[in-house]
Symmetry: C2
Subunit: 541 residues, 2 copies
């Protein structure tokens, strides 16, 4: 997808290179609030953390107002659930109405077709601030992520939660391209990306949104040179931003998208999906563009990446120059993660690995230290903000995760009961501890096994969580269909259907798959029947 050109192909300016004072050319400078992976609705039934995601989304909208941005740019997974709860949808709609409608005049001009991507059969435009019936102050542009991707095949095609916001006029949903029904169709389609073209004064900005698809497909499309970006003829006079939501960290062959595979006319790639906050644009070897990874605004796992301070960014763009300024989020719960190896600790601290009480005492001390550290983090952040004139926020209970290597310990006490002691002092008492063991060597020769059988869940040395983590839907489906002698229904399709049913709350996924599979089967049988001249031409009853 790379191309080569002359002088105008100089790389865009790196972070902070917008060599103008803040107010030098304000009428030519786009001010954009960049955020992603807000995961609204995450853990919403948790009595402590239930409102975290929505509260931080409110903070982000307030920051957009405070920093007087021209628009907000989101890179997917606005919602955690594919079908957000009523409460989540209600609060999101209300917040968008509260903070993005109003009298602030829009200073960005839409140069692309406002009808591009509009609701079929209706007259209102796809871009909300072009609708004369809505008084939009801060447009929000967003692609979908893997959590809130389009599903179903009703009269309006596949729909996602962002479509509800978009048809209400509260966001501008971009980067949706028709999802192929099966792989054969995908092979013929490719991915076509039409940009949203914006002008502010003399600066021109092109937004290329690509909603999430399976990494394998994206990888294939990029490799096959079938991602077609409809760029303006004078593309080098535009500041070109690509928005995408895919794995950046490799999770296996074709399970991620390589950083260097995009069109070299791009200036900046805003990468959603990865939750670690890496806002400063990073260089890509051999490419002009840099990658900005804003990270999530709420921790949805208690892994290390989520413990990096969470920020959104103010992106300023003037002509081909830009500056990316991180803005720390103040409503994010402090989170400290650490690990400890009991064998090492026992030696160092002088306790016995068989002494459950001593182990518990040691772990409590560790957790106490982490709570102190987390509270210090909060206080520091809060003090800094207060010094800058912000209001003080009441301290939030921290998230604490201690990973414990239990190798050599025969019996551990119950981690849920352990957490009860910390009730009221941390936000996740039920899962503050996780246990793991160093992998044991294979009995047949001492080699470390890497390809463990996927259903080896009877191994008594595994914890329940480890056992569950090893179960793969497709293996279960394979075994079930074999047991029922129903392999004709198609394993791969059935696995996908079950995943849709579970992950996307698509209650009709299995029914639809069976119907399609049976139809295909019937067709196949009929063809065969005709071929051997034994079938009834009119089909089977």
């Amino acid at each position: 997808m790379s191309d080569s050109e002359g002088d105008s192909r100089r790389p865009p300016s790196p972070l902070g290179a917008l060599n103008t004072d803040d107010n030098a050319f304000p009428e030519d400078t786009f001010r954009i609030l960049v955020a992603t992976d807000n995961h609204i609705g995450y853990n919403e039934r948790d009595p402590i953390r239930g409102q975290d995601s929505i509260n931080t989304f409110r903070e982000i909208l307030q920051l957009a107002v405070k920093h007087d941005v021209d628009f907000i740019l989101l890179a997917g997974d606005l919602f955690h659930e594919n079908r957000p709860s009523r409460d989540t949808l209600y609060q999101t709609l209300a917040l968008l109405r509260e903070y993005t409608l109003g009298d602030r005049p829009i200073q960005i001009e839409l140069l692309s077709d406002p009808q591009e991507g509009k609701a079929a059969g209706f007259s209102f435009p796809a871009v909300n601030y072009e609708d004369p019936n809505l008084n939009v102050s801060i447009p929000v542009f967003s692609i979908h992520g893997n959590h809130d991707d389009p599903q179903g095949a009703g009269p309006q095609g596949a729909l996602c939660a962002l479509d509800m916001l978009s048809v209400s006029g509260l966001i501008n949903y971009m980067g949706k391209f028709d999802l192929p029904i099966d792989d054969a169709e995908a092979q013929n389609t490719g991915i076509a990306i039409k940009p949203v073209l914006l002008r502010k004064g003399n600066s021109k900005l092109a937004l290329y949104g690509v909603g999430n698809v399976k990494d394998q497909r994206m990888h294939f499309e990029l490799r096959s040179n079938r991602v077609r970006m409809f760029m303006p003829k004078d593309k080098n006079k535009w500041f070109n931003i690509l928005l995408l939501h895919q794995n950046r960290v490799p999770h296996g062959p074709q399970q991620s998208v390589p950083e260097g595979m995009f069109d070299n006319s791009l200036d900046l790639v805003i990468w959603g999906h990865e939750h670690d906050c890496r806002i400063s644009p990073e260089i890509v070897a051999g490419k002009r563009y840099r990658i900005c990874q804003p990270g999530s605004s709420v921790a949805t796992s208690l892994g290390e990446g989520e413990s990096i301070e969470k920020c959104v960014a103010l992106l300023e763009v003037q002509d081909k120059e830009y500056r990316m300024t991180p803005i720390p989020l103040r409503t994010v719960r402090p989170f400290v993660v650490d690990d400890v190896c009991l064998e090492v600790a026992a030696e160092k601290e002088g306790f016995d690995l068989g002494d459950k009480m001593a182990i518990t005492k040691f772990l409590k001390k560790k957790v106490e230290q982490l709570i102190v550290r987390a509270n210090e983090q909060w206080d520091e952040r809060n003090a800094k903000a207060v010094a800058e004139g912000e209001t003080e926020l009441p301290r939030m209970l921290p998230l604490i995760r201690l990973k414990v290597d239990t190798t050599g310990v025969s019996e551990m006490s119950n981690p849920v009961r352990f957490g009860q002691e910390f009730q009221g002092r941390l936000a996740n008492p039920r899962d503050v501890l996780v246990f793991h063991r160093a992998k044991r060597s294979n009995k047949s020769g001492g080699k470390v096994t890497t390809d463990e059988p996927e259903l080896s869940i009877d191994d008594p040395s595994l914890t329940t969580a480890e056992k569950l983590a090893r179960v793969r839907v497709h293996t279960l489906v394979h075994e079930y269909l074999a047991a029922q002698e129903m392999q004709l229904l198609g394993e791969a399709g059935m696995s996908d259907a079950i995943e849709l049913f579970v992950d996307k709350d698509d209650t009709h996924a299995i029914e639809s798959h069976v119907q399609v599979a049976l139809k295909a089967l019937m067709k196949g049988v009929q063809k065969k029947g005709r071929r051997v001249r034994r079938g009834r031409p009119g089909g089977y009853r």
Copy 2:
């Protein structure tokens, strides 16, 4: 709830008594489009009928535009499913945005508080045309029905699908009062109804909305004089409309709301829920007010009431005078229902009740006649509209229902297979026929049994549908809890929870009930424990 006053208590003018030309006092005349029970999303996965409800809702909005109404009034069950599908919600949002936003100036002035009923914690008003950020042309006011009533208890309280439309600024949801958590609380609350007060020129209109509650509760509240209507002091100078959504037809003791129980200051009651179209306001014995029952805009059952021609109404109100003009809906599928007794027919037509072929032939002839009748209905309605200058609509496949009394017939052919012959000629081939038998006399004395045991589903003379109709959730729950020795969980609550789970798609209903029941149980046990001085005061672990 009745009161007595003097001269000003004359009954409001009956239908057609608005003794003015259409244009005599237009600036004083409210023009209101009245509709109800649109049941959007009904049968949406049916390949033939799937889009019926949404198409007719579109027609209703178009009629509102055509008749240049000041607002639209809906009396509940806008949605068929408590949690409408994404497709349904999307299309409804789009239609409301398309037809109710625009430049048409609003001529009605809101005199009540625009903040009344607004979203907690947000600044935008509850009434959409008071929001300066929205350009509303035709406000829509609606109560909820029994299908789309509020559920759940999140941070925003119980929410329903109308809340999503309301928070988006596309409808004005009224008649929501806090639902009591249990009956004890209900006993203390009563129902408080605050009106929406509107003025157009010299006419003043008060809208009293009461969203659906269980009939038993509504009956109790009315009987106990605890439905408090907050009426203006000069209430007799207002035209007072009550909007409600309850059973009007008695379904057992306290399973409906008596027509004569409302405040006699009312001028008109608009009654949702009942699907028969009875638009002409009907007199209520001993009362000033009349009742208008618009009926549903889509047939959700194939009963006789649904075969009455479906209309919406143009309600004109000037001072205390009003006129109600029915407007037939053109997109409603023609529906003809009839019944036949095979014993009688066999005698008359001279066929044998044991001759399956002859019976089938006879029933086919009957269905053919009904199709002809339905198509004639459509053509007549269409021709009339065309004569009035409307465009011609392509004929829709009709709904046909033939109820067959099979008493004395030992074996009937399969009604689904029967319908296959009519594929492409009617909209409901799978259920065109329903069979029933005259009730057999009770063996023990010839009396007709009225109290049949509810689980008598092993009777071989019953059809599957009849068997299923007899199963009651609470009976199943009773038997299940007894079998599991779990009666402590509370039968009534568990029945309700299961109904919520099934009818309202509330996936957390059972979990919530069990939690509440267990907590109550614990409390009870603790109290008892303290009383006999054996319990630990700190509670149980």
